[in-house]
């Protein structure tokens, strides 16, 4: 249980950092000209770096560890699709489809061609929406775990 608590805490720190870049990006009108400024690219890179880390930590750790502590699963080797079905059943994720889209977006972001500015701008807009969704899912699972007294 301590390990789960530590992962929740580290995610909170990541969300805090990512939120600074998120607010900075939301205040901008992203364009090719805006990207020409390297300082602006740094904000994007910082946001995406934390975004991907958050996504990975939620997908690979929080979901499974929480369900294990909640005694919803008892096998660490359970396939991801079964984890998602359980999370959907508990109302922690809105839909498996939405999670799949976030996961594909994460992969697209990790493999994009940096020179394709138009592509990057669209991906960043999707990642900004994705960040909101990740935050929402994080808060939902945290609330759920707290209601079952497993984060004391």
């Amino acid at each position: 249980m301590q390990e789960l608590k530590a992962v929740f805490e580290s995610l909170e720190q990541l969300f805090e950092s990512c939120n600074i870049d998120y607010n900075a990006l939301k205040a901008q009108c992203l364009s090719k000209e805006w990207f020409d400024n390297y300082e602006n690219q740094r904000i994007v890179n910082s946001f995406l770096f934390n975004y991907i880390k958050i996504q990975d930590k939620i997908g690979a750790k929080i979901f499974k560890m929480s369900l294990f502590e909640l005694k919803e699963i008892n096998d660490w080797s359970i396939p991801m699709i079964d984890i998602l079905h359980t999370l959907e059943k508990l109302g922690i994720i809105d839909s498996i489809d939405e999670w799949d889209k976030l996961r594909e977006l994460r992969n697209v972001l990790a493999h994009e061609y940096p020179a394709d500015i138009e592509d990057r701008i669209e991906n960043i807009a999707l990642a900004l929406d994705g960040f909101e969704k990740l935050k929402n899912q994080f808060l939902k699972i945290k609330k759920y775990c707290a209601s079952k007294n497993i984060l004391l």
Binding site: D97, D100, K101, E104, L105, V108, Y113, D116, E118, D119, E122, N123, A125, L126
Partner: protein, 101 residues
């Protein structure tokens, strides 16, 4: 189309996902799956969409849609945005047309 290394069912899933997501355009298979002498490998797809709006969102929807039918596997989707990159040239020169709609 005889030399491509995809089952008919896989082609059908890919083409249906393409039409559901992009509606109109061209879909090509390129890369190692067009080479009958090789084994395994990623599925490399190239799309020339008719409409150029929301292409990143459509690419993600297309990938999610396809994987529902194909299961988890490595699929790379390159979209023609009129950039004329090296990858565009390779895909256009060597790709096998799967669908024109």
């Amino acid at each position: 189309m005889t030399s491509i290394r995809l089952k008919n069912k896989e082609i059908s899933i890919i083409v249906n996902s393409f039409i559901n997501t992009f509606q109109h355009g061209e879909l090509y298979l390129f890369g190692s799956r067009t080479d009958a002498s090789r084994r395994g490998g990623d599925i490399d797809l190239y799309i020339t969409p008719f409409s150029k709006t929301e292409l990143s969102r459509k690419k993600i929807d297309f990938l999610v849609n396809m994987k529902k039918g194909l299961g988890e596997q490595k699929i790379d989707v390159v979209i023609d945005r009129n950039y004329n990159r090296e990858i565009d040239k390779i895909a256009k020169d060597t790709g096998v047309l799967l669908c024109r709609n």
